[in-house]
Structure formats: C-alpha cells, structure tokens
Amino acid sequence: MAVSSVKELKKNRKFSWKRVKNQIMGILGNPFNVIVFFTLIILFVLIIIPLLIMIQNTFIVAKAELRSIPGASIGDYTLYYWKYLLASPLTQTVFWEPLLHSLTIGFFVTLISVPLGSIMAWLMVRTDIPGKGVLSAMILIPYMIPSWCKALSWLSIFRNELSGSYGLLTGMGIPIPDWLAYGPFAIVIVMVMHYYAFSYIMVSGSLRSINSELEEMGEIQGATKFRILKSITLPLVLPAFLSATIMTISKSIGTYGVAANLGNRISYYVLATRMKEFINDAPKGVGYAMSILMILLASGTIFANQKLIGTRKSYATIGGKGTRSNLIPLGKAKVPMMILLIVFLFFSMFMPLFVLIMESFQIVPGKGYGLSNLSLYAWFGTLDNAPNPAFAQNGLFRNSEFARACWNTIKLSILGSLITAICGQFFGYVTTRGRGKWYGKLTEQMIFIPYLMPGVAFSAIYFAMFSRPRLGGIIPSLYGTFTLILLCSIVKHFPFASRSGSSNMMQISVELEEAADLAGASFWKRIGRIVIPLAKGGFVSGFLLSFISIAKELDLIALLMTPANYTLSFLSFDYSKEAMPQVADAICIVIILFILVCNKLAKKIGGDVSKSMG
C-alpha cells in the first residue's frame, strides 16, 4: 500500500468515531495548542480588528459630519472623508502640503543623517582613531534622549520673540529669524541629531562583522586602500547602509513630537501633526484616512527595504577568525579627526543639553546666567512667590500635575513593559516552536504589523476602535482612560518584545523540552521547570528595554491623552507651549536622568541599547 500524499492516505480510510475522538483529545489535551489559540485570538482582536475598524470609519458618516453631508444619517456609507482629503478645495492645504513637508523632511534627514552616521561608524570600527571609549559613549548616549527633548533643547537656543520668551542667542542680542528657529530647517537638524545614531548602529554592526581577511586579500592582490574601500568594504556594508536609509525615511516621515514642537508655532504642518488636529477636532474620518496613508507610506518603505535587501542581506561575513581585525591607520589625521568629532558631538549634542539644563534654572530665559537671573523656581517654587509673573505653573516638586504625571509614567512603564515582556516571551515561544507551521507564520506576521506603523498612526487606530463602546457595551468606551494608553503602548511594543522573546526562546533548544517530555513532565511542568528558569535572563533585559522605550514615548500616546493621564513626556510637551519653558525643561531633565539610570541598569543585566531602536 504505497501512498504518495497525506490526502491519498486519508482517502483510503473509513470514517471512525474513535479516530475523531482521538483527534479532538489530541488537540485539546495539548496545552500548547491552547496557547497558540489564545495568541492568535489576542493578536487578531488587538491588531487586525482595530485596523479594520479604522478603515471602516473612513467610509462611514459620523455624528459630527451630519450637517456637512446633506441627507445622510449616522452610519451611512460615504466617500466624504476621502473626497475631503484627496479631492476638495482643501486638498492642497490638508493633504498635498503636509505630504510635501513630510517627504521633504524625510529626504533631507536621510540625506544628512545616513552619511553622517556611516562615516562615524567607519571611523570608529575600521580606523585607529584614538579615544574610542569616550567617542562611542558620546555618540550613543544622545540617542537615548527622546527626540522631542532635543527639540526643546533647540528651542532653548534658537527661540525668538514669537514664542514669548527668548532663547540663548536672541538673549545675547543676535536676531534669530523664524525660519531658523522653527519650521523645516529646525526639524531636519533636530531629527538628524537623533537619527544619525540609527545609521551608526546598523553600519557599525555590519562593519564589525566583516572579516579583515577579506580586505587583506584585496591588499595582497595589490589593491590600493581606496580601491579596497570601494570594491570590498562598501559592497559588504551596502545592505546595512540601505536598511538604515529606508528605516530613517520611514521613521522621519512618521515623527510627531519634533514636528509639533518646532512646526506648529508657525503653522508648518506635516502629515503627523495635521492628522492629530483632524482626529482631535473634526472631521475625524479625514484624520483616519490620513493615518491610513501614513501607514501605507511607512510600510511601503519597509517592504521596499525587504525587497531590496532581502536576498542580499545575508552575506555570511562572520568567519571563525573574524574578530581579529586590522585597523586602518589615519596617520597624521588621527588626532585632528578625533578633535573634530568631539567638537562636533559636543556642539551638536551636549551644548544644547547644557543650555536646556541651565534654562531650567533661569528666571527669564535668554537673560544670561548671572546670579540675579538664576533661581530654583522651576524645581521648588510656588506661583504665589514666583520671581517672574509669566510663570504659569508651580515648580516641579510643588506641582501636583508633575506628581500625577510621575505616577502615571511609572505605572504605565512598569505595567506596560511587564505585560509586553511576558507577552513577548509567549509570542516568541509560539513563533519559534511553530517555525515553519502556519500558526507560527501567522503569529509572526500579525505581530509585525504595529512595526509598520508610525506611533501616531497606530494610536489613531486605537482611538478609532475604543473612542466609543463596542460589542454592544461589553467593551466600554476607553477614551480618556489609562487602560487605553496602556493597551496602545503594549501592542505597539509587541514586535520588539516578541523579537527579544523569540531570540531568547531560540536559545532554549527544543530538545531540552523533548527530553523533559520523555521523562514524563507535563507541558506546564516543562514550562515551569525548563523554559522559565532558562528564559529568566532574557526576560529581564527585554523588560528593561521596553520599560525605557515606553517611559520616553510621546508620539504614540499624544493622541490619546487627557489631562488626568498625562505622562511626564506629555506634560513637558504641554508645558513647552507656554511662554515660560523652564518647568518643561526641568521635566525633560528628569526624564533624561531616568532613562540614563535605567539604561545603566539594563546594561548591567545584559541588555543592549542598540536593540531598542526606535
């Protein structure tokens, strides 16, 4: 009885109740199947359904637009929102202009930051530039600071009378035009100062993996240094370089915080900021439609990346002796190069930070650092004895909003990262153990979706889903609740958490579990006695990294904020719109300190900053 397929095998069988019973018992009796089932359900409910609902919302008449659409009633099918966005007299202002702005910013940020980061990577990895320890810290630490904090630093230097208070330069009597202080130029520079690290991390990783023997072989064949760089080194790092390029485009197009801080003041809008206005006001449907376009734009670039790099990505550049690598001597340029780099990093990263810190102690910003202009008001003052009548809030430690925001941030980060990390381990377990099976692939693909979406666009999805009761009231309206912000933060961090989870689970060989299975251990016993003890280390570092990422998040939660739920990031963002920026600066400093401390901790336990890209 030779058969050639499972189908043929099944065809030859007669129906048997016993078989059906055994099959059902086989599926239900295996807790792994139950876990897979719940994983798929959870991902479907938290990712697919909200996405579909948002898409649906762009085609359905909402209450706010009843008057704008003659003869329509709530829930009717309509193309009004898409027409409003793409084919109305307003299209130029609400769509083409923000789109052009976003693309311009994306283009210039990429044009500058990718070469900048790549050159730094090359200098650090492949040359004998001195002081690598200090330099590497100077390059990487600024990346941990959220991009919107950098926007505040920019303002503390370049702010002009438009904002109601002066920045450092205006205060010194140097007139700063609006185009320099705000708008595209400022946005591009600030984003470059953030995203260069992205290229640095990717390209340096790739450079490190190149065996120097490959270059030495070129040398033996008589190639010049330049020739080797051009024909051997560059082609090998090209995949990393292209990846960095595309990721930078995608990220900079989607960024909200920086664009809002530096653009809104002069009505310079990008897609993300325009979208938020629509969703917070009306018509929301237009905002949703914009968010769909943003998702398409971002996921389009990411897919382009995979298409472009996919087949070439996997150069097996890591050889047995690859760690030994001969450095290229810079000769006389060595010390000047180092000084140049340090000066650059100092002026671009640390001086702004310094100005930001100093500003938090000033009574009137831009009035210099004389003792008479310094005060601890932003930290400890109260409004009734404010040295400057323009102050709008109590100092941080006397400010109930700050206390609440602190509590919210801690609550959000701890709960969020804990749940994210636990889910991540489970997802990692399902994807690694289901490798090559349909459910493994499906889980992987669903988890990947939030990664394709810019933070603001992702929160728009949650806004659409939970701003009113669902399932006939079983799920109440979550708008304005902490739960919604928590949920959104958790799901957005799924891709990252499950990647760390699956790399963690990958290290636990299936055979370790099979050995326990043969010894008679039940599924839960295997999880408890074998998997969890072995996964502990990876779990903790995964937890700390998503903890930092959630704690500094602004873009993702800006849309969902209501005053009771303000986190430190959002409170600082909110205060920074006021005339007096000192309190906002102070919050920013608290966040930066917090991040640096957490990062130190994570590193101790074995985490890696470069893994928390984003």
Binding site: S5, V6, N22, Q23, E514, A515, D517, L518, A519, K525
Partner: protein
C-alpha cells in the same frame, strides 16, 4: 522484554514524504542501528518510535501493545512508552547539576528521595561519572556530557533505549572509547537499543542488526557482516566500506545454470546456487553487470604466485599509511584500489601479480542496480578460490 514492530509507517512534512511505508521488526535485546546518509529518514523513524513525531500512516506495536495507530489517530504519550532517548546535542538542562539532570525524570515518577539518590548514583557509576554529580553541564567536557546524557536515559531503566547520533559531537579518540562503553552497556543491561548513525564504522562495530535507509525507505535489514559482504544494491555497496568498494563494468550471460561474466579483470563463471534468483536476471542474452570488489580482497604479489585467478597489473600509485597501505592498480585501462595490511610500497608503474577471489565478489545487474550474485560470508585464505 521489548519487541518493537513498525508497520507501514508513513510520515509527511507538508508535501515532503520523509518516511515511505517503513516496515521493521526489532527483536528483544537487539542492538538495531538505523544507518544512512543525512536526510534519509533514520532520525525521523527514531522520533516516531519515541513519540516526539506523529506519523500520518501506519502502526507501532511494542510487545504486542498498540502504541501508534495512525488510522485511529491514536498516539501513546512519549513518557508512557517505557523508553528513553539520548539526543545528538545531549539536551542536558544547563540550569541543573548532573545529579538534578539525572534525577528529574525519577522525581516526576514520584520516586522516594533515598531511592532517587541510589538510582541516580548507580546510573552515574555505570557511566563512570559519579564524581561529577554536583557540576553543571557547562563545567564538563563533551565526553563527560555525553556520559551524563546516557546516564539520564538509563536511570529510569527503560525497556528501550534510543540513541540519536550520540557520538557525532565527540572527537575521534573519545568516539572509540564510547563505542566500547555502549557495547558494554548493551551487554550488561540487555536493553533493546535503537541507534541512529550515518557512520558505518559505528554501525558495523556495535550493532546486532543494521537497517539501511535510503531516501525514506529501508533498503536492507541485515547483520553487520551480511550487510558488509552482500550489500543489496549498488548504492548500499557504495555507502558501506571504507575505502570504497571497487565497481568494475562487465558483460554477462546467464543460461539458466551458470552466469558467465566477461570483465577487464578476467572472465569468471558463477554457479546457479550462488545467484540471487529472485532478482531480475535476463536469460540467454548478454546484459550489463557491475562487479563489486572489496579492496582488502585484492592480493598483490611481486612474483607470480601460480594461483589460478592471477592477473597481471601495473601500479598506478601507492599510499602507505602505517597500519595499512592503499594501492591503485591498472588492468586493461581499468583502475581499482587494493588494500594491504602493514607498510607496503611499490614503485610507480611497477608490474605486479594480482590474485582475485571470485567467490567473494559481488555482481550487480547494472540496469536494476540490484545484487544478483552473493559473495561468500566466510572466507578461508588459501582454501577457497
């Protein structure tokens, strides 16, 4: 204690048919080796027996009890099959000490504490690693880890012990030591063993029986000696033996009584009783055959030994390697390899006399690739031709 019967086992991974109608009986106390190149289904067969893999078709019986009945979707749980497995990677739990690793399964069986202690220590002593009881796996060498893995598998006194390429991660010297160890273990415990390997030396030296796998099918089940002497087809012959068997193309005619073979290394007649008559042998017409000639069965003399099966050959190259020497010979434009014991050296192009032993040659039908003439298993030098 344990007789295992596999009936019509079919296993698919998607569209990939990895086990094709596997039928195999393993008698109680056998040391059965599943031998074959990688990807031929031998490890899958082992995993089917262990319960870690579920076949879509077929039955598995142990001592008459149904363990797998794919038609009824019945698969007994691995832990209830009374067997244990040693993984290729050893799969030692890195967060447990040697003692804890071995004791794990016993604890799950709710054995009493002092009983666990004595059982574990007995297993560790058998494998001669009692002194490492409190070490963690990463503090042990590869060979010691291997011993722990085996101790863990035998601690629960399984009726059936499965070993999946257990020696492939060891260096050459340790491998020889462990082969002896495993052979002793089999003799001392009397446990039925199924052993998977791609290494023919392991198979030939340890097994009582070998099942030779080819692309998801079993091509031959035989004792090591039988398998070595009479590989069932050209592929099996090519796979078994190091240095490789010599294949020499020839023409043959079978008249119903004698197979007359004409070859570059001489003409030979083989009587009917030495033929495998259930194979396809064309009658009364010339057909292509391949002669199989083991290198160690080629005797080389520098002077004419006056033996009836002597031919004259020329030395193409000789490779003395201490305990043995390989000599490549040329006869009538045909190259073949001879293996001599000890250090022998010949000059290039030297003329030598070669004695062949037709009774120990295999003949294969070239078209079907199947064995049609048996070689004699026992050979007495000087007495037989």
């Amino acid at each position: 204690m344990s007789r295992i019967v596999l009936e019509h086992i079919d296993k698919f991974y998607g569209d990939n048919h990895v086990l094709k109608d596997i039928n195999l009986t393993i008698e109680d106390g056998d040391f059965m080796t599943l031998l074959g190149p990688s990807g031929c289904g031998k490890t899958t067969t082992l995993r089917v027996v262990s319960g870690l893999e579920k076949p879509q078709g077929g039955k598995l019986l142990m001592d008459g009890k149904t363990i797998i009945d794919a038609a009824e979707a019945f698969y007994e749980e691995p832990s209830k099959r009374g067997l244990n497995l040693v993984f290729q990677s050893y799969a030692l739990w890195p967060h447990m000490t040697v003692f804890q690793n071995v004791a794990f399964g016993l604890k799950i069986k709710k054995m009493k504490k002092d009983e666990i202690e004595s059982t574990v220590m007995r297993a560790l002593s058998t494998m001669r690693i009692a002194e490492y009881r409190d070490r963690y796996p990463n503090e042990l060498s590869g060979g010691q880890q291997q011993r722990v893995a085996i101790a863990r598998a035998i601690a629960s006194s399984p009726k059936l012990l499965l070993l999946d390429e257990p020696l492939s991660n060891l260096d050459a010297r340790l491998r020889i030591d462990m082969r002896a160890e495993l052979k002793r273990l089999h003799k001392e415990t009397g446990t039925t063993i199924i052993y998977v390997t791609h290494d023919q030396v392991e198979a030939l030296t340890m097994s009582t029986k070998i099942a030779l796998f080819k692309a998801g099918e079993i091509s031959q089940v035989a004792t090591p000696l039988e398998l070595y002497t009479n590989p069932i087809d050209l592929e099996a012959a090519d796979f078994i033996g190091n240095p490789r068997i010599n294949f020499i193309d020839a023409k043959a005619v079978f008249d119903g009584e004698t197979l007359k073979v004409k070859s570059p290394i001489g003409d030979y007649d083989f009587a009917k009783e030495k033929l495998k008559l259930d194979e396809e042998i064309p009658q009364k017409k010339e057909f292509d055959v391949v002669m199989g000639l083991r290198p160690e069965l080629v005797d080389i003399y520098t002077e004419d030994p006056k033996h009836k099966n002597t031919i004259v050959a020329e030395v193409y190259a000789s490779q003395p390697a201490g305990s043995e020497s390989l000599v490549t010979l040329t006869v009538n434009g045909i190259d073949f390899l001879a293996k001599q014991i000890g250090l022998v050296e010949y000059d290039m192009n030297e003329k030598v006399y070669v004695v062949l032993h037709p009774s120990r040659m295999n003949v294969y039908n070239k078209e079907t690739g199947r064995l049609i003439k048996f070689a004699k298993v026992k050979h007495h030098a000087g007495v037989d031709d």
